[in-house]
Amino acid sequence: MCFDYKAVTGLIFIGIGFLLPAYAPPAKGEVITGTDEEAQLPFWEWRNDVMSVRLVQRLPDQTRAFFTARGFTKSQAEVIAQGCIFQTVYKNIATPSKPGVIEYDLTQWKVLYQGDVRALKVKEAWQQEWEKAKVPQPAQIAFFWALIPTQQRFEPQDYNWGMTSYNLVPGEKFDLEMVWRQDGVKQSGAIRGIECAPDVELEPRNPFG
């Protein structure tokens, strides 16, 4: 049997050439978890010295209230509330002495759930549904701006808050694999064991307790 080694080597290099741009080396960073001071709900945060991404649980009830107050019907708000929504704070925390520009695209992020690889449900996907359902314009506008931008470029100290949607039911756990570019160089990071908020009502606090 005879091999054309040149052809095989060429094919290997072509294969590497295709795969290399998709590879994003993991960036050095840490994941911290705890209770968000303002929301008093669990958060998961990936951070290094240039970037931080914090996902704060949103109770389905909060989401229902927010969107019904902005013109969605109860059933439409229910669909959003059941979609595993997180308040997301994405920051470029680079300092002037060590600047860095961050660019991200949420359509490249992966949601790992029970062995499946899924995508986030970004605002454009939702928007198509709302247009089909003829949701009133003010409600659509509020929804569009309430979700975090799908693509964004952050200079040092820029940041956004907004909701992200994972298309999972309340109480489910998932891993999130994120990719971004720092000064044009592709990088990646992961947060494991994120938990969608359960569909529960908060117990009223005892003001004297």
Partner: protein, 179 residues
């Protein structure tokens, strides 16, 4: 022989300590600065005409020749709320220098905004972009986003997210546009 070392060592130590402290303070100050990022190409700011919550129309053209800060916001947006008090403090100082500030609310009506101003009183015009047409004309993808327009009507600076608008260095950068 008399010991003169303290006359030499003490002043040198004092001077060195002073400069090290100054350097440290400069670095800390720079790290805490509130950056405004230059807009590439300084394109012309898209014109608009919007009513404020009292029904008074405001066209960007009316402010030609002035430096104008244009802030896009919404009442339900937490970082938008955070920066409103510092915007008001900055406005109180900058308006005396002939600099205008316009806050364009996205998609909310006059009643909603008026109710909101009970908790967040501001004196600069609050304009209503009810159908979000104006925000779509601007290169804005998230709230809050703020642009600074120079006296020739060009977009010169941009900030995504909250800033402390009454930060001295930030305000100076805006004042420098008047020169």
């Amino acid at each position: 022989m008399r010991n003169y070392s303290r006359f030499v060592v003490f002043p040198i130590t004092f001077v060195m300590t002073f400069f090290i402290t100054l350097m440290f303070a400069t670095v800390v100050y720079a790290e805490k600065s509130q950056p405004l990022h230059p807009v590439t190409g300084t394109p012309m700011a898209p014109d608009f005409s919007l009513n404020d919550i009292d029904g008074k129309p405001h066209a960007l053209q009316d402010y030609r020749g002035m430096v104008v800060i244009i802030n896009f916001w919404a009442t339900w947006c937490p970082p938008c709320r955070y920066e409103l008090p510092s915007m008001e403090r900055a406005y109180q100082r900058l308006k005396k220098q002939g600099i205008e500030m316009l806050a364009i609310n996205v998609g909310e009506d006059a009643d909603t905004i008026f109710t909101f101003t009970v908790d967040y009183p501001v004196t600069f015009p609050l304009l209503m972009d009810l159908d979000s047409k104006v925000i779509k004309d601007y290169p804005v993808v998230g709230l809050p986003t703020t642009y600074v327009v120079d006296s020739k009507g060009r977009l010169v600076y941009r900030a995504i997210g909250t800033r402390e608008w009454d930060d001295a260095a930030l305000m100076q950068k805006i004042l420098d546009l008047k020169k």
